[in-house]
Structures are given as structure tokens and as C-alpha cells.
């Protein structure tokens, strides 16, 4: 047995939710830095103008990334609510039920945001 194993967790139960929480958190941290850069163009002192950046943001692949971001943030927030509830005394035996109830809420919210964000009118006018 290694004295310093890389991960000392059992590959079951909350492991999957936990790994996703870490991955989504890292993604959001990167997004945060990018977001701070984008908003900093409001000062007018950055090498790129706000309007030019907004043109780039309007591109379909950026829209696709934004839809992904919504999903990632929603997962992180909803699993975070689960962690908070378990931390504040909800019995841990309910962790799976709690996770899936929150994920169903997430799927509903994600579908709604997809409906709002997806450029339907552009697709329609192009067709």
C-alpha cells in the first residue's frame, strides 16, 4: 500500500458529485477572471473596446459557451445547496435524494435558461 495515495476516497456515493463540484468550481474561477477582464473594458483604458468585445460575444460559439456556463454554475450552486443543508444538520443518509431532487430543479431551470438564451429569432430569420 502506498503511504501517500493520490486520492484517499471511495469511488462511490458522493464521489462523483464531489469531483464535479471541484471541476465546475475551477471552471467558474477561470470564467471569473475572464469576466473581470471583459467588464474592465468599461473603463475605456483597455486595449480592446467594449463594443468590439460585445461583437465577439455575439458569435454562436460564445453563445454556446454561455449556455454551458449556465449549466456549470447551476450544478455548482445546487450541489452547493446540498452541501450547506448537509452541513447544517440534514441527515447525511438523505444526500442522494437531496442531490437528485436538486438536479431535477436544475434541469428545469437549465431548460428555461436555454429557451431564453438560444438565438431562436436568428435561426428563424436565417431559415
Amino acid at each position: 500500500m502506498n503511504n501517500q495515495p493520490f486520492l484517499r476516497y471511495k469511488y462511490r456515493n458522493g464521489m462523483f458529485a464531489w469531483v464535479l463540484q471541484r471541476l465546475s468550481g475551477a471552471c467558474i474561477a477561470f470564467y471569473l477572471i475572464a469576466h473581470l477582464f471583459v467588464t474592465s473594458t468599461l473603463t475605456g483604458k483597455m486595449p480592446i473596446t467594449f463594443d468590439r468585445l460585445m461583437e465577439i460575444m455575439d458569435k454562436p460559439y460564445v453563445k454556446a459557451l454561455e449556455i454551458c456556463l449556465i449549466g456549470v454554475v447551476m450544478y455548482h450552486a445546487l450541489n452547493g445547496i446540498k452541501l450547506a443543508l448537509l452541513n447544517f444538520g440534514v441527515p447525511t443518509k438523505y444526500h442522494k435524494v437531496l442531490f437528485w431532487v436538486l438536479m431535477i430543479i436544475g434541469i428545469i431551470l437549465f431548460s428555461y435558461s436555454w429557451y431564453v438564451l438560444f438565438p431562436w429569432n436568428k435561426i428563424m430569420s436565417a431559415g
Binding site: 501517500q4 493520490f6 486520492l7 471541484r22 468550481g25 475551477a26 467558474i28 474561477a29 471569473l32 477572471i33 473581470l36 467588464t39 474592465s40 468599461l42 473603463t43 475605456g44 483604458k45 467594449f50 463594443d51 454554475v73 450552486a77 452547493g80 445547496i81 452541501l83 450547506a84 452541513n87 431564453v116
Partner: protein
């Protein structure tokens, strides 16, 4: 720092992570609503952001938001890196690196918030 003191600090870091997470849920909700739903049926524009950011209340809101999100993000990144069995010396370095990145980002963001009069 002895072992008990160190673990107590880590406990506080986790507590603040949890509380900042709960606050971020509310603050992010408001932020998202203000920028994507409360724009009077028009796309987000330079003018629209400027008129919102010129209000002192929104400046305070955004500053608090920035501080909370930076704590939550960098404490989170630190926690992820700590799971890779980081040596004791590196743990200290990592902590101060995160503090410095957070301060730099805070100043950078605050500069944006205050550039709008």
C-alpha cells in the same frame, strides 16, 4: 503555528466558504436579474451598464459581490490544490499566492466599478 491552531483556521476558512456560497447564491441571482431580465426588453449595452453603475448603491453591491466571489473562488482553488498532497512549505506559499491574486483581482475590479461616475 501548532497543529490545533492550523486546523481551527482551516475550519474557519470552510465556514466562511459555506456562508459566502449561500450569500453568493442570492447576490448572483440579483446580478443576473439586473443584467439579463431588468434591461427593459433591450440587449445589454454600454449605456445601460453605465446608468446602473453610476448609482452608489450598485457600486456598493458590486464591491461586496466582488469581495465575496474572490474569497469563494480562491479559497476553492486553494482547497482543490491542497487535495494533491501539497508539502507544508508549499501550503504556506499557496495561501499567500491566493491572497495576492485575490487582492490584485479586487483592485482590478474595483477600478472598473469606480471608473463610472
Amino acid at each position: 503555528m501548532n497543529k490545533i491552531k492550523a486546523s481551527r483556521a482551516q475550519g474557519i476558512f470552510w465556514g466562511v466558504q459555506l456562508l459566502s456560497g449561500i450569500f453568493l447564491l442570492i447576490v448572483l441571482g440579483v446580478h443576473f436579474w439586473a443584467l439579463h431580465f431588468n434591461t427593459g426588453n433591450q440587449a445589454l449595452s454600454y449605456q445601460l451598464i453605465l446608468s446602473r453603475l453610476s448609482s452608489p448603491a450598485w457600486k456598493v453591491f458590486d464591491t461586496v459581490f466582488l469581495a465575496l466571489v474572490l474569497y469563494h473562488a480562491l479559497n476553492g482553488v486553494r482547497a482543490i490544490i491542497l487535495d494533491f498532497n501539497v508539502s507544508k512549505a508549499m501550503r504556506g506559499l499557496l495561501f499567500w499566492l491566493c491572497v495576492m491574486v485575490a487582492i490584485a483581482c479586487f483592485i482590478f475590479g474595483l477600478n472598473t466599478i469606480n471608473s463610472v461616475m
